[in-house]
Amino acid sequence: MKKTLLATAVLALGGFSNAALADLSVAIAGPMTGQYASAGDQIRKGAEMAIADINARGGVLGEKLKLEVGDDACDPKQAVSVANTMVNRKIVFMHGHWCSSSTIPASEVYNEADIPMATVSTNPQVTERGLDNIFRIMGRDDQQGMVAGSYIADKFAGKKVAVVDDKSAYGKGLADEMAKAMEGKGLKPTLREAITAGEKDYSGLVTKLKQAGVEVMAYGGYHTEVALILRQAQAAGLDLTVMGGDTMTNSELVTAAGPAADKVLFTFSPDPRKNADAAPVVEKFRAAKVEPEGYVLYAYAAFQLFEQAATAAKSTKYADLEKAMRGGSFNTVIGELSFDAKGDQKAPGFVVYRWQGGQYDYAQ
């Protein structure tokens, strides 16, 4: 009996001391287990480093931060229950969730509880529902076409461009956006074509492109067909450059297309490791044996955003934070962050890459 009492007292003490130390609770949520656990791990590593650094600088408004971790396993139902737990723990800021399908339902809970959140989910719907607590620190799926189309119009002005898609929802949507962006900049596509995905013979299309004198193909679809088209173009003596979307990051493209893959440009999120301002933080991560790839630096940036917004607003109350985030401009490891009325990042979230000898890097 005595022992039980003692244990209870210790536990209570522990609980109290914990509460006393954790002046401000902030949280991350994402797939810490399951199929996408590697992404969750990246988020956790980035967040832990960011919070250690912020606390070493003296915390936010003189208060130390404490990190809460929620695991939604990319399951929308679990995401809502994580959100409720986090609201009970009185967090003041959330970085998450990761899967768009988790972020969308969970954001309703945070919105009701007046908790601001920064997310990396890319589905347009994340910011299209009029919730004022969401800030997206990554690009949107539908921005890709715009970035790709503008790049073609700028770099290949005066050349003949064909817009081709594979009739899938993703492919056609992307190709339409690319065509719109090109036309907006005064480059009218010479040809608009569609192919059937899953076929092997695209020599008909290739000959048509050759006949029309097309040098650049803006393509909405997957890498498998691009590999076939490029091989067949090369065999037909057509020097074709292809601009595609994020699906072209798949290295299967290189194995299937061979050296012709060097003619592929595509849009993908910027690599923050290349950001010169991020160099000291990148060094620090590497010294701690963590490669700051994928979402690591995004998580770090999310807490820099919170730190800077709270400092500017001199408050961690929702109304003040929300105003500061929406109005301000923040200097983070992923670059300058500022947001539009919907909560989308103003700077384009996508950059153009080029395959080169089996590796991809920024296209100049």
Binding site: G198, L205, T207, A236, A256, G258
Partner: protein, 304 residues
Amino acid sequence: MAYALQQLINGLTLGAMYGLIAIGYTMVYGIIGMINFAHGDIFMVSAFIAVTAFTILAAADVTSIPLALTFVLIVSIFFTSAYGWAVERTAYRPLRGSTRLAPLISAIGMSIFLQNSVQLTQGARVKPIPPVLEGGVVLWDAPGFTVQIGWTQMLIIVTTVVLMIAFTWMITQTPFGRQQRACEQDRTMASLLGVNVDRTISLTFMLGAALAAVAGVMVTVYYGVVDFFIGFLAGIKAFTAAVLGGIGSLPGAMLGGLLIGLIESFWAAYLWAEYKDVATFSILCLVLMLRPSGLLGRPEVEKV
């Protein structure tokens, strides 16, 4: 003009491959009156055997292209014929005396079996090989457009022509051809006259598979990638070719294949590429309405 010529070359290449596969459908139909729906998947298996053979050659540092192609063809024909034989033996022969529908269903089952087993053992990702035969010859340097025929395209067309001549000779001139035609006309009578019907049918399946293997090797060399699903679309197109040309007729299968290849490439060239398949099948319907037994098919006479 130059453009049309280039599309003609594309269409002929594609058609030759359809034709090679179509012969497998038509021969089997001719001799036992059933559609071997697993034939497209036999073709897919042969492409995988070709990729494996190429990989082995690359590991053994074989650089001579004619040698490599011959080796891959022989390996692929050998193993694919074995597959053809095994499929007939396990899925069709036990059902020979039963209703017409039974072997049809077991053919569909066989097709699903082959597709899934390749997916499970080889993976769902595409299997690429590096370009084998690069380059070609410029046929005509017209202003604004250069007509080119690749070495692979030439190889496909020449191989198909040679095989067609050899096949026609075999069916019309050799004892095996005579036995095959006898079985086609009347199986009971042929067996009474001392023809080994089971052996003839087995050989027919193996020959069909061998031709599919040639098409499989060509597809692997020409397109450079294979996956477990290529048999489906190729099988449907080749079956259509066989029906268009008149199922049961060898020259019909080749003609049907070439026609479908040409329709596809010219439709895609001058009209809307996305309606290519609609066009192909509309033409099939039209032909069947006017000539129900296909272009070169003989109307079936009900034997009493």
